[in-house]
C-alpha cells in the first residue's frame, strides 16, 4: 500500500522541526566565541575560505562591538556572507583550518560569528555598498543563483548596468530552491537577494530561459559581456528501472517543493522513505523527509562513510534526526505494484548479498549534471571532460566576452561559497575588460 500523505505531524511539530537548525548566537555567546580567536598571523582560516574573508579581522571587530565594520569585512569579500554563514560546511573550510583544533579540538565558531555580524547589519537595514557613477556599459547575467548574483552585484557597484535573466520565478538559485529549509528559515534567501539588489543598477528579468526565451547570440550582440551562472539543471537517473513510478522522484524536486510551500503540512511524504546518494542533497532530502513525519527514512550509499561528499558533520546531523544510513549498498531493482513503488532491492558491494527495503517513496540524489542550453548556430562553448563549461582563471569561457561560474563550471566544489567566489572573479575580469 502506498502511504504517501501530507500532514503527518501537527503544524506545531512541523514548525518546531523546521525552525532554525543553529540559532543565532546571543551577544554574550558572540563575545565569548570571538574572544577565542587568536588573531593569527597570515591566518590559515582565511586561506581555507574560498572567498578569502579576513576572518581574524571580522571577529576582532565583533569583540570590540564594531558589528557594522565586521559585517563589512565579510560582505566586501563575499556578498553572500549571510547565506554562507548558514550553509557553508565550515568543518571542511575555515573551521577546519583553525589552529584551535590542534590542542583543543574545538575551532573558533567562525560560521556562527559570521552570522552574528551579518544578521546585525541586515536587521539594522544598513546598506554598505554605494554604486559608482554609471559607466553606460551593459552586462547580461544569466542565472540568478549565488554565482550570478555575486557577479551582478560586483559589476553594479562598479557602475555597470546589469540585467539578470532567470528562468525561474524567483532569484536565489538553490539558495531559494535547494538549501535545506531549517538552514534558512524566515525567508532569508529572499531578504539577502533584496539586499543585493538594493545597491541599484541591476534589472531583473525572471521567467526567461537562455536557449528558449533568450539566445546567447542576442545577448552577445546587445551586451558588452555575458556571465553564465546556470547551475546544474539536470539530474542523473539510476538507470535500473522505471523512475516514473508513483513515489519515485529526484530529491531536488522534493526539496524545491518543500522550500516553496506556504504550509509544510501540505507537503506529502511517505511512511517509509529511501534516499539514494551520498551528498548534501541526499542528506537534506532524508532529514527533511524525516522532519516532515516519515516513519522510517533510510539513506543508502554505494560506498563508505568516508567516501560520501556530505561531511561527517552532515552525516551525523542526519543520524541525529533519525535517518538510518546504509553504506556499501547499491540499488539494483525497483519493486512496484499498480504503478507505484513498493520497495527497492540492493546489493552489498562487499559480499554481493542482496536485501530489500520496503518503501512508498524513493528520492534519488546521485548527482546533478549540467543541461547545456541550446546556444544556437555558431556559438560553441568548450566543455570539460565532466560536461561543464570550461573556463580559465578569470572565469572566461572559450567565447570572447562570455564568462561562467558556479556549479555549471564545476570546480569540483559545488558549494554556495565557491559559486560566489567565481562570480566575484568573473566580475573583476569583466570590469577590467570593460574599462581597458
Amino acid at each position: 500500500m502506498n502511504e504517501i500523505s501530507p500532514a503527518r505531524l501537527s503544524s506545531g511539530e512541523l514548525a518546531e522541526n523546521f525552525s532554525d537548525a543553529h540559532p543565532r548566537l546571543n551577544p554574550q555567546q558572540a563575545l565569548v566565541a570571538s574572544d577565542r580567536c587568536y588573531f593569527c598571523y597570515d591566518a590559515p582560516c582565511v586561506k581555507a575560505c574560498p572567498t578569502s574573508i579576513d576572518i581574524p579581522s571580522f571577529i576582532r571587530k565583533i569583540s570590540t562591538g564594531n558589528l557594522v565594520g565586521s559585517a563589512s569585512d565579510i560582505l566586501e569579500a563575499n556578498i553572500m556572507g549571510g547565506m554562507c554563514s548558514r550553509v557553508c560546511p565550515t568543518e571542511i573550510l575555515c573551521e577546519d583550518a583553525c589552529v584551535r583544533n590542534l590542542n583543543e579540538h574545538a575551532p573558533v565558531d567562525i560560521g556562527a560569528l559570521q552570522r552574528f555580524a551579518t544578521d546585525h547589519l541586515f536587521e539594522a537595514g544598513i546598506q554598505l555598498f554605494e554604486r559608482k557613477a554609471p559607466t553606460g556599459r551593459k552586462v547580461a547575467v544569466v542565472g540568478g543563483g549565488p554565482a550570478g548574483l555575486s557577479c551582478a552585484h560586483a559589476l553594479a557597484v562598479e557602475g555597470h548596468d546589469v540585467t539578470v535573466f532567470e528562468a525561474r520565478e524567483k532569484l536565489g538559485g538553490l539558495n531559494e530552491y535547494g538549501i535545506a529549509a531549517y538552514k534558512v528559515p524566515n525567508n532569508f534567501a529572499q531578504r539577502e537577494v533584496d539586499y543585493i539588489l538594493a545597491v541599484g543598477g541591476i534589472t531583473v528579468k525572471t521567467g526567461l530561459a537562455l536557449g528558449k526565451d533568450i539566445q546567447l547570440a542576442d545577448l552577445r550582440r546587445d551586451f558588452d559581456a555575458v556571465f553564465l551562472g546556470l547551475g546544474l539543471g539536470a539530474v542523473r537517473s539510476l538507470g535500473i528501472g522505471d523512475e516514473s513510478l508513483k513515489g519515485v522522484e529526484p530529491a531536488v524536486d522534493f526539496i524545491a517543493r518543500l522550500r516553496q510551500a506556504d504550509d509544510l503540512a501540505a507537503i506529502p511524504v511517505g511512511a517509509r522513505v529511501i534516499v539514494i546518494g551520498g551528498g548534501n542533497t541526499a542528506i537534506d532530502a532524508a532529514t527533511q523527509a524525516k522532519k516532515l513525519g516519515a516513519d522510517e527514512v533510510t539513506l543508502v550509499y554505494r560506498r563508505g562513510a568516508e567516501n560520501m561528499s556530505a561531511t561527517t558533520v552532515e552525516q551525523d546531523w542526519a543520524k541525529t534526526n533519525g535517518v538510518r544510513i546504509r553504506y556499501w549498498s547499491k540499488p539494483v531493482a525497483i519493486e512496484s505494484a499498480g504503478g507505484a513503488v513498493t520497495g527497492m532491492v540492493f546489493e552489498r558491494s562487499d559480499t554481493g548479498a542482496r536485501f530489500t527495503l520496503a518503501a512508498d517513496m524513493v528520492l534519488t540524489a546521485i548527482g546533478q549534471v549540467l543541461a547545456p542550453p541550446s546556444l544556437g548556430a555558431g556559438d560553441v562553448l568548450e566543455m570539460t571532460a565532466s560536461g561543464r563549461f570550461a573556463v580559465d582563471d578569470n572565469q572566461a569561457t572559450s567565447l570572447a566576452g562570455v564568462y561562467a561560474g558556479g556549479d555549471c563550471v564545476g570546480n569540483g566544489k559545488d558549494l554556495t561559497v565557491a559559486a560566489v567566489e567565481d562570480g566575484k572573479i568573473a566580475a573583476r575580469a569583466i570590469h577590467a575588460r570593460l574599462t581597458a
Binding site: 554574550q28 563575545l31 565569548v32 570571538s34 574572544d35 587568536y38 588573531f39 593569527c40 598571523y41 597570515d42 591566518a43 590559515p44 569583540s63 589552529v99 584551535r100 590542534l102 590542542n103
Partner: protein
C-alpha cells in the same frame, strides 16, 4: 600538615587570610558569614565621626576580559555610611562571638588630635584586636582632608600614627596609599610614628572608562562621573612592587606588612608572603565570588606548604626578597634564547608577527614552503615577548645559552659612562 596560623604584629588568627576593610566587612551579618566561611580575620569597614557620610549610586566601574572575568574594579564608595554607635555595638558582639578570629577596626577621622582621642577609647572598648589607619582612600574623603590627603604627606602619617599609639593600647596598622611617587616615604613615616605594621595597597586613583553614550566616566551618576579607587587582579603587580620595596629597604624592612591588592588565589597570597608580607587582605575577589573562595586559599596554601616542606608561615615568609634587586645588579652576561616546542605549536604565528613587527625579526614563518615557526638564534635577543604572546602554555620557553660562568652588571659595564671598576 602545615600550620597556617598567623601572628601578625601580635594579632593572632587561625589563617593569614583577612578580609580588607570594604563593603564585605561593613556589617555584623557580613562579617559573621565571613568568619563562618573560614576567614581568619576581618578589617571592619572604615569608621568615621558622625554624622555618617552619604554614598552615591552607582558606585563601581569594572574592566572585564572577553569571558567577563572581572580583571579590575573601581569604586567611588566612601567609608561606612552607618552611625558610629551601631558599628561599635556590632563590632563588640562579633568579637565576643568569634574570639579566635582577628578583628581590626579601620579608622578615618579628621587630622586633629581631639578627634582621634575621642574615637580610640570607643574602639578599644569593643574588644577589637587592633586598628588600621585608613590613609588611603583616593576619593571623596581626601577632598575633606582625610584618607589619601593624609597618606600623601609623610609628616601627617607620622603625626597621626603617634597620636594613635599615645592614646590607645591597640596595635596600630597604617594602611598606605599607592597614590604617591615613592611608597617608602609614607612607610618610613609610619615607622617613625611608631606603627606596629603597615598594610598596602589601598585603591589606585583611576578613571575606569568613559561611557560613550553619556560622555561621562563610569560609573555614571546622574550624567556625571568621578575618579575612583582601582583594585582587583589588575593592581596586584603594583602592590607586589610596593610591598617588595618596603621589605628590602633597610629602614623599613623590619615592619610587619599586610599585603593587599588583587589577591584572588592561594598563589597570589604566597607571592605576597615570599616578598615579606606576614598576612594578606582580600576585597575584590570576595566581592566577585563570595566568601567561599577562602576555602581554596586555605587549601592551596596548605598543599603548597606540605609539598615544599614548610611547617609554618615563617618558614617561607620573605624568601624571595634577596632575589629582588635593582636593575643595575642583573647579570648582563646571562643569555637566554626562545625555544619553540614544535609538538605543542599550533601554528598561530603570533610569535612571528610580534617579533617581526615589534622586536627583532628572529622568528621565521616558513620552512620548505610550509608554515613553520622557528627561532633564529643569532637574531634572538632573549626578550621573551614571543613566550608571552604564545597562546599555548609552555610552548615557547627561554633556555639559557651562556656557560653560566661569567657575571658582569651595568655598574662595571664598559658602555656605562659612570662605571666603577669591577672588583
Amino acid at each position: 600538615m602545615a600550620d597556617i596560623r598567623g601572628n601578625f604584629a601580635g594579632i593572632k588568627s587561625p589563617n593569614p587570610f583577612w578580609l580588607a576593610s570594604a563593603p564585605p566587612t561593613d556589617k555584623y551579618i557580613n562579617c559573621r558569614r565571613a568568619y563562618e566561611a573560614g576567614w581568619g580575620g576581618v578589617v571592619w569597614k572604615t569608621l568615621g565621626e558622625d554624622p555618617p557620610v552619604v554614598n552615591v549610586s552607582s558606585r563601581y566601574g569594572a574592566w572585564h576580559d572577553g569571558n567577563r572575568r572581572l580583571m579590575g574594579l573601581n569604586n567611588i564608595e566612601l567609608i561606612t555610611d552607618r552611625p558610629l554607635d551601631i558599628n561599635l555595638q556590632e563590632i563588640k558582639q562579633l568579637k565576643s562571638e568569634f574570639p579566635d578570629r582577628a578583628l581590626i577596626v579601620s579608622l578615618m577621622v579628621p587630622c586633629e588630635e581631639e578627634s582621634w582621642k575621642r574615637i580610640l577609647p570607643l574602639v578599644e572598648a569593643t574588644g577589637a584586636d587592633g586598628i588600621e589607619l585608613n590613609f588611603g582612600c583616593p576619593h571623596g574623603m581626601s577632598e575633606r582632608g582625610m584618607g589619601a590627603a593624609v597618606g600623601q604627606v609623610p609628616e601627617y602619617v607620622e603625626m597621626v600614627t603617634r597620636w594613635c599609639k599615645q592614646h590607645s593600647r591597640m596595635p596600630v596598622i597604617v594602611k598606605l596609599t599607592p597614590n604617591i611617587t615613592n611608597v617608602l616615604n609614607p612607610a618610613r613615616a609610619a615607622v617613625k610614628g611608631g606603627a606596629d605594621a603597615v598594610s598596602l595597597i589601598n585603591t589606585i586613583n583611576s578613571i575606569m572608562g568613559i561611557n560613550l553614550d553619556v560622555m561621562a566616566p563610569e560609573p555614571v551618576v546622574d550624567g556625571k562621573g568621578t575618579h575612583g579607587g582601582y583594585c582587583g587582579p589588575a593592581v596586584k603587580p603594583i602592590a607586589l612592587n610596593m610591598v617588595a620595596e618596603i621589605a628590602r629597604t633597610a629602614d623599613t624592612r623590619h615592619i610587619p606588612i599586610s599585603g593587599i591588592g588583587g589577591i584572588t588565589t592561594w598563589r597570589d597570597a604566597v607571592e605576597f608572603m615570599v616578598l615579606g608580607a606576614g598576612n594578606v587582605q582580600v576585597c575584590t575577589a570576595a566581592m566577585t565570588y563570595g566568601f567561599r573562595i577562602v576555602e581554596e586559599m586555605i587549601d592551596g596554601l596548605s598543599q603548597f606548604m606540605d609539598q615544599r616542606g614548610f611547617a609554618t608561615l615563617d618558614d617561607f615568609r620573605g624568601m624571595a626578597i634577596p632575589n629582588v634587586t635593582d636593575w643595575n645588579q642583573l647579570n648582563l652576561k646571562y643569555v637566554s634564547k626562545a625555544r619553540i616546542n614544535q609538538d605543542l605549536c599550533i601554528q598561530c604565528g603570533r610569535c612571528h608577527i610580534a617579533c617581526e613587527d615589534t622586536s627583532h625579526q628572529a622568528i621565521t614563518a616558513e620552512k620548505d614552503g610550509k608554515r613553520f615557526f622557528e627561532v633564529v638564534d643569532s637574531e634572538c635577543v632573549g626578550c621573551n615577548l614571543c613566550a608571552h604572546v604564545c597562546p599555548v602554555p609552555e610552548c615557547i620557553t627561554m633556555v639559557q645559552t651562556d656557560a653560566g660562568t661569567e657575571y658582569q652588571n651595568w655598574t662595571s659595564h664598559p658602555n656605562n659612562p659612570m662605571r666603577v671598576a669591577a672588583e
